[in-house]
């Protein structure tokens, strides 16, 4: 019977290698310099690249971090350092529930909150949707890394006459900084692949989108659009984009693993 369980594990792991291998094979054939530097070719023509989608994704992630990281970080500090029992439990539980909200629902939220009043799709709306999605993991990873700081450090700082907030700001947080930053990196990598919340917030754009107020293209949405289109050349570009996106996500995750040398936080949220 144990052999059967080993088989189950082998199946699960082989799926990862299949995904990786197939994307490398299909995407590697198409990936070239044009992909990073050119705009999408007009419909019907072959060639072109995803430059606008790459820049769009970067802008969305920047905006998302500006929203998600402060709330997540300070919320995490509260839970680890100031939280009592009842209110901290409620905050923690709500955070976990927020983490479980389907990404498409986050899209509707940003749509109702920003697209409807502004009456048009925009980079800003997409960034807000992704930013809210970032909060739960930022909170929980910050909290966990702060809790891992030994109490003797806190006591040492307090014994030297530091006030509580100075002890936290100058001793506890610096001690946990590496973990916190890694947790946020993983968080960014996770929302980098989110497609559903962008479909009707950032929408899509076949041209570059200057500023924050226009619809923008992004890597995941382009992969979706190109994968379901009926053109052979578009499929090949979708593979290339998939390879780029997956590489970014996996490299971040593997790097985080080596930085932390401990259990990954991806699933803890």
């Amino acid at each position: 019977m144990f052999a059967m369980t080993g088989l189950c594990a082998a199946v699960a792991v082989s799926v990862l290698f299949f995904i990786l291998g197939y994307l490398l094979w299909q995407g590697g054939r198409t990936l070239n310099w044009q992909f990073f530097t050119q705009l999408p070719a007009p419909v019907g023509e072959t060639g072109g690249g995803f430059a606008n989608a790459i820049i769009g994704s970067a802008k969305l992630l920047l905006l998302a971090s500006l929203i998600g990281v402060p709330i997540g970080f300070l919320g995490g500090v509260y839970l680890a350092e100031f939280g009592g029992t009842t209110w901290a439990f409620i905050v923690r539980y709500t955070t976990d529930l927020l983490n479980g909200v389907p990404s498409i629902v986050m899209g509707i939220f940003a749509y109702a909150l920003i697209v409807l009043p502004m009456k048009h799709f925009s980079t800003f709306a997409g960034g807000v949707a992704l930013g809210v999605m970032m909060i739960p993991i930022a909170v929980r990873s910050t909290e966990e890394f702060l809790r891992a700081v030994p109490n003797s450090l806190r006591e040492g700082a307090l014994a030297l006459g530091a006030t509580k907030w100075r002890a936290i700001a100058t001793v506890v947080i610096p001690a946990a900084m590496r973990g916190i930053i890694t947790g946020i990196m993983l968080d960014v990598a996770r929302v980098a692949g989110e497609t559903a919340p962008l479909l009707f917030t950032a929408f899509n754009n076949r041209f570059s989108s200057p500023g924050w107020n226009q619809p923008t293209s992004s890597l995941p949405v382009m992969i979706f659009t190109y994968a379901i289109a009926p053109y052979e050349d578009w499929h090949r570009q979708a593979w290339a984009a998939g390879l780029v996106l997956l590489s970014l996500v996996l490299v971040t995750n593997i790097a985080a693993r080596f930085i932390l040398r401990r259990q990954s936080l991806v699933l803890r949220g």
């Binding site: 990862l16 995904i19 100031f82 901290a88 976990d96 529930l97 927020l98 989110e194 497609t195 992969i223």
Partner: protein, 325 residues
Amino acid sequence: MTTASPTIDRPASPQHKFVQRLLRGDQIAHLITLIFASAIILVTALLFFELFRSSALTRQKFGFSFLMTTTWDPVALEFGALPFIYGTLVTSALALIIGVPLGLGAAVFLAELAPPRVSDGLAFLIELLAAVPSVIYGLLAIFTLIPLLRDYIAPVLRSTLGFLPFFQGPSYGVGLLAAGTVLAIMILPFIISISREVLLAVPREQREASLALGATRWETASHVVVPYAKAGIIGSIFLALARALGETMAVTMVIGNDPKINASLFAPGYSIAAVIANEFSEATSDIYISALIELGLVLFCITIAVNAIARLLILATTRKSTAHS
């Protein structure tokens, strides 16, 4: 932890003390972090409020019949959500039927049989699987899983289990079965890593007692360790279920997008998340958008409920052995 401050000789008035503490910064820091922590609750509440408010139009017009009727006709402004609810439930159930035995088996292997080093390495690879964006699962499924299902698996199922209504009719590749299979793969990492953790948290004495009584390692694993960790394992399954119910992109790309209720798993279907993803940016009338948002509200309520149960179950088991959840 309270702040260590030298006691002041002269008894200060409470007001004076408060101002002093405020000046030292502790209260300010506490207040600022409290505000941000509470903002999380505010955002979650706002999320529900926005969904509720923006779906008022259809809630008033259709009431509960929205959930019971099967006609989805945006042109005639008739909206019934049943085909989508059916598609969501069937694909999620399929995902659990395929994913739970596979995931549990793998978790038992990783926790009970594999040497710790191998177990950690494999667990990391499986967690990477959870990091793969769902649109990439969809991309791969379109070009590999769908031809495979259509040309090889569906004919085999039809000839062996064809007497069941689930495996009848033509297969185009896309459909409920394809969506269920992709979902099963996608929830696998959640079941495996949480179940593994819960299994590893079972105290060593439990295993030793069972082995001392003459049980084999397999008997120990299946009769002692797994039952001990039952609540946590069920929690991991619920968590996986919540993921499956709300999963959007991969399902949208393979389910076939046809709002009909079919017993056959080969037939194309539609899920709540998929219809929102496909139709939202094209919805023109207010009531159409309201109907889609109400679907979002339904999805939100289902996943929140499933998640809440999952978290409580996992909390209950891990609290037994470890401090943090």
